[in-house]
């Protein structure tokens, strides 16, 4: 099966991927905006008031998509890091590095919105709920990845070392989640589930789905732009970059 390899391989070099990312990013950004507006419209105008929580539950339209994205981006980041480590393809490692900040941001948003939702519903800013706790630990894993990468000067070693901790982290995420879940039920009895508390009207589910797609498109757009920055920084003295500099 050589045919697809050639095509795929063509885009795996930073030089050929740079313009491609440049053209794709705006489209993803526009699509993200469209989905976001539609999602927010559903969230605020189509979704009914919840009989139990009133209007506070609308935070779900940001909280749940952000939590899903934080987990999804970590696994994608670990995937790209593993590819970069195994086949020594620089672009894959750059992709992993480009994903990390957005993933960490999504985790922060999930934690922040989780706290702001917990206050009216459970009366406390921070609740040691299994998912919120795992989200906090996920934030530490992201920070570990980013700080380890920043602490090493040589880019190649930085990529490979960060890849190892990303892979080890990815393997530990389920272990951490289940041990926190076990620990949580042990101490607090059945924790109030963030979603099961109110009957899941279909519009709510639909709203969350649209918002998740919006977040996903947004992440792709941001990562594409950031990977272009990383490529420029890494390939600074490559000649194709110098010509580029002269032109823009």
């Amino acid at each position: 099966m050589t045919m697809p390899d050639i095509r795929w391989y063509k885009f795996s070099s930073p030089q050929t991927f740079y313009p491609l990312a440049g053209t794709l990013a705006p489209w993803f950004a526009i699509a993200a905006a469209v989905f976001a507006v539609y999602g927010l419209y559903i969230g605020f105008f189509l979704a009914p008031t919840d009989f139990q929580q009133g209007e506070a539950y609308r935070i779900i339209f940001i909280h749940v998509p952000a939590a899903w994205m934080s987990m999804f981006l970590y696994l994608v980041m670990a995937g790209w890091a593993a590819v970069g480590l195994a086949w020594n393809t620089r672009l894959s490692s750059m992709m992993a590095i480009a994903i990390a900040p957005t993933g960490a941001m999504m985790t922060f948003i999930a934690l922040w919105t989780g706290a702001l939702w917990g206050k009216p519903m459970w009366g406390a800013w921070w609740v040691w709920d299994a998912r919120l706790t795992s989200e906090l630990i996920l934030l530490f894993l992201y920070l570990g990845f980013m700080f380890l990468h920043a602490a090493i000067e040589d880019p190649r070693r930085a990529d490979r070392a960060a890849a190892v901790i990303a892979i080890v982290g990815a393997i530990n995420v389920p272990i951490i989640y289940f041990s926190v879940k076990w620990w949580n039920t042990l101490h607090q009895g059945a924790s109030v589930n963030l979603t099961r508390s109110s009957t899941m009207a279909s519009t709510m589910l639909w709203g969350m789905l649209i918002m998740s797609i919006a977040f996903w498109l947004y992440s792709i757009a941001v990562v594409l732009v950031r990977v272009r920055c990383v490529i420029l920084e890494r390939e600074r003295n490559a000649d194709w970059v110098k010509q580029l500099g002269a032109r823009t």
Partner: protein, 225 residues
């Protein structure tokens, strides 16, 4: 096969002999453990009931921190004097040699913690059965801590500010061991039996035993470049 075992034996023999000659290093992490554990009653107050509930968690967190502190030295000295290069170039699988180094590290830091922990448990007036489970959970848990810590030590080899970075990398991965370690002792106090917790600690140990040396060897090859 005998070549690998002999090489591993030489690594363990060397590290233990060095540890004997530099007893200070062994003592420092042990004394750190004792001090940290003794600080808590001073901070929380001497109410026996309160101390009893906090005891397992405090002893476990202190053991975890003491273990992590000792990790920075795991590869740093070998890296500085060139023995790490020779180990990487030895015709044996590096992950097995790393396993030997981690074992030697556990014998000099993890094991002393396990032996002294029940003594400290008395400060938190844990009863005999709780102290026994504390010993068992630490015996099963501390090797896992050394193994996971080895990955962090190898990744942060030779980096400025390696200590804090090592903590950031390794502590999140320690959480499952902490949960089931401390949980085991609490379970006995609540007469629920610690069987489940100890078996999970054993499972974590086996999983780490298989995976961590390979990851540490990979991290070492990256760090040594």
């Amino acid at each position: 096969m005998s070549g690998v075992l002999d090489a591993m034996a030489s690594v363990i023999a060397r590290d233990l002999r060095i540890a004997m000659r530099r007893r200070a290093d062994v003592m420092t992490s042990l004394i750190f453990f004792v001090i940290v554990v003794s600080l808590f009653p001073l901070g929380i107050g001497a109410d026996p009931v309160l101390l009893r509930t906090l005891g397992p968690g405090v002893v476990w967190v202190a053991a975890l921190l003491a273990c992590m502190l000792a990790l920075a030295r795991l590869f740093a000295n070998d890296h500085a004097d060139g023995t790490l290069e020779q180990m990487v170039l030895a015709p044996q699988p590096l992950s097995m040699l790393v396993l030997a180094k981690t074992a030697a590290h556990w014998l000099t830091t993890g094991l002393p913690l396990v032996i002294i922990a029940p003594l400290l448990g008395l400060q938190f007036n844990l009863d005999a059965e709780a102290l026994l489970i504390l010993l068992a959970s630490l015996l099963l848990g501390t090797p896992t801590l050394s193994l996971i810590g080895g990955i962090g030590a190898a990744l942060t080899l030779g980096l400025r500010g390696g200590g804090a970075l090592l903590a950031l990398l390794v502590l999140p991965l320690y959480i499952p061991v902490l949960i089931f370690g401390a949980g085991a002792v609490e379970a006995t106090a609540a007469a629920l039996g610690a069987g489940a917790h100890l078996s999970i600690l054993g499972a974590l140990l086996l999983g780490t035993l298989v995976f961590a040396p390979w990851a540490t060897a990979l991290a070492l090859r990256i760090a040594i470049e």
